[in-house]
Symmetry: C2
Subunit: 132 residues, 2 copies
């Protein structure tokens, strides 16, 4: 398995990107809106993986609520899998609580699915299907 | 630059490793004590990067206090750099607050250095020097 990306919740995409691009020496992808999550996101390539910066478009969205309760910071880790539906079913069969019982459209045209943090000792885990 | 590892704070190393090894299908490194951080850690390889699981050996250690205030979960992200001292100096020169002004010995015999989360919008960043 591979780490597809590490999600970071931010108040303001532009200022976060400016700061991280300078430190990592790479340029972020153009921001993209993900309506199902009520966020705008941009990806910054770092070696074989990516940082995903998430800015809420709605304060009542999951990222908006995260920012309100915990402030900016590390939000989730996403693993690349051949089939998100199969992986979610596997986690569920082992007794892990799911957020998404089936995959749904995420950023970059990929299928994604989230597992509840209780399943992985407090870590919010996302599975992402490899793009075409 | 590359993501060397993603640090995850846990109460109990053995039970966290059992859970994650099953999901990721890989075996963790033997646990190692890092006296300077008052933690026991183990690494799990995931593609080109690693998950580092940190269990406090002292409740007053940074990881012990993190667990008390926020519970288990994502703790820091570590980037591989040619020179930790040079990278820390660079961040400091740009006005970023440091935790370590100079590199010090970390896990796996590597030199490491931490930057204060305020420098990267709430994200605790570690720099790790490539091993021999």
């Amino acid at each position: 398995m591979e780490v597809d990306h590490l999600g970071i919740a931010v108040h303001d995409l532009a200022s976060a990107l400016a700061r991280w691009e300078r430190t990592l020496g790479s340029a972020a992808s153009p921001p993209e809106e993900v309506p199902s999550q009520r966020v705008r996101v941009a990806f910054l390539e770092v070696g074989e993986t990516h940082l995903e910066f998430l800015e809420p478009t709605d304060p009542a969205s999951p990222i908006g609520r995260f920012l309100e309760s915990r402030g900016e910071g590390l939000h989730h880790v996403a693993f690349l899998v051949p089939s998100v539906d199969r992986k979610l079913a596997e986690v569920s069969a082992e007794g892990g609580r799911l957020i998404d019982s089936l995959s749904r459209p995420g950023a970059r045209g990929r299928r994604v699915g989230f597992v509840h943090p209780s399943a992985f000792g407090g870590v919010l885990v996302e599975f992402v299907e490899r793009g075409q």
